[in-house]
Amino acid sequence: MRLTVKQLAKAYGYLWALRHFDLTLSPGEFVALLGPNGAGKTTLLKLLAGLTPPTAGVIELDGRPLTGTATAERGQIGLLAPAEHLYDQLTALENLRFFTALYDKDSSASALEKALLQVGLSARAQDYVGNLSAGMKCRLSIAKWQLLDPGLLLLDEPYGVLDGSGIDLLENFLKEHCARGHIVIMASHHVARALKLCDRALILHQGRLQFDQRKQTPWPAFEHAFGDFLPRTGP
């Protein structure tokens, strides 16, 4: 999976939420998407997921443009929003079964149960998702995307609701995912965690890409940019 973004832009009313955004990602890259509130991170993820039509610009997956009608391409993109995109009145197991069938993936009971076991939700398999806590919903989302196995996985602030073991679970999943040649883009305010995982960091500020470098240690350029665009009191 190779992702190419050219001159992507999105305007809301009289404001650019994102502008002049170029990016090329190769297989297996883990990208940390950083920036203060309102920098355009969520907008970028929504655009990449094809949920919002761009005002201008092109997104290509393996050289094929992503448009509203590109069904096969859409199946290659996943968006992990922590406690969303699940049906409250379906059980955890039914949610997984529904989505795997929709994506035409393995929806056998054994595969689903294995996925639930991995995220520690075996005991809650028959509970309605509406009755699960936010952290459990997030774990279920992890299981969901593990099963759907998208070539490009986008994450929007996944750390907020997870406990310690949940975070380990997520990070292991993401590492494995990249190791198999898939791309991960994670937007987060947990700069330290994101930096530890990533191969490359992007900083968005006021809708512009201000910083884009591969990870180095030490990394004075990032420290400098970090001071300019992000609040000093990071976690």
Partner: protein, 235 residues
């Protein structure tokens, strides 16, 4: 830029002038030159307004349909502007058609309103395209509003023949169309001066229509330019 806007403006001025001349000529012919109708008397002069206005309304709906289809296909904002402008004028001319029909109906049928097929059909068209304008104005995101309206523009136009058929079967007491009666050539039915008046009136309405349409279209275009300029400077 300056020169081209000037030529555009001059062209609009010429179109407007021509429209004015044609409309005044149409008024002279239909009110002064054309003889009164043998059966209906002077009241029949309303026809010189009625026929051209309903035909311009239908022309509008056709343009809405074309603009909507082109917009969904090519995603060019100009097509959407055309559809929007045409819909607004369509509503205006349909409303005028209904008012004229009603005024014509009072002396001929003795009532302001009768549920005759053609009047009813026109009223339904007014409702559909008024709904189109309301739908547009109640969706905030411009691209989404344009797509939603385009869908309605297409559905509405394709529905017209079906509505036409059903309303006619339901009931009809309108006089049969006298100009396009198939068994006789038009000039055998009607006094030639009447036909001339109708033709001039027609040309007047069409010129006026395209003049107003170009003005309305330009307003939309300028609003988009304003928006683009504001965006450019982040105001």
């Amino acid at each position: 830029m300056g020169r081209s806007t000037k030529t555009v403006k001059r062209r609009k001025g010429i179109l407007g002038g021509l429209a004015l001349v044609a409309v005044v000529a149409g008024l002279c012919w239909s009110l002064l030159v054309a003889p009164p109708d043998a059966y209906q008397g002077e009241v029949q002069r309303i026809m010189y307004l009625h026929l051209p206005s309903i035909l311009t309304a239908y022309l509008s709906y056709f343009l809405v349909f074309i603009g909507s289809g082109m917009y969904l296909w090519k995603r060019d904002n100009k097509d959407d502007l055309l559809a929007h402008a045409a819909a607004e004028l369509g509503v205006l001319f349909t409303a005028l058609t209904i008012i004229e029909g009603s005024i014509w109906g009072k002396p001929t049928w003795g009532v302001w309103w009768t549920w005759d097929a053609r009047l009813t059909l026109t009223a339904i068209l007014l409702l559909i395209y008024a709904g189109y304008l309301m739908l547009r104005s109640s969706i905030d995101d411009e691209q989404r509003a344009a797509s939603a309206a385009a869908i309605l523009g297409i559905l509405g136009f394709l529905d017209i023949p079906l509505i036409h058929m059903s309303v006619y079967w339901w009931r009809t007491l309108h006089q049969p169309p006298s100009i396009l009666r198939p068994d006789k050539a038009p000039w055998e039915n009607v006094h030639p001066a009447m036909l001339t008046a109708l033709a001039i009136s027609f040309v007047g309405f069409l010129l006026l229509y395209f003049y107003l349409l170009s003005l309305r279209y330009r307003v939309g275009e300028m609003r988009q330019e304003i928006k683009a300029l504001r965006l450019e400077r982040g105001v």
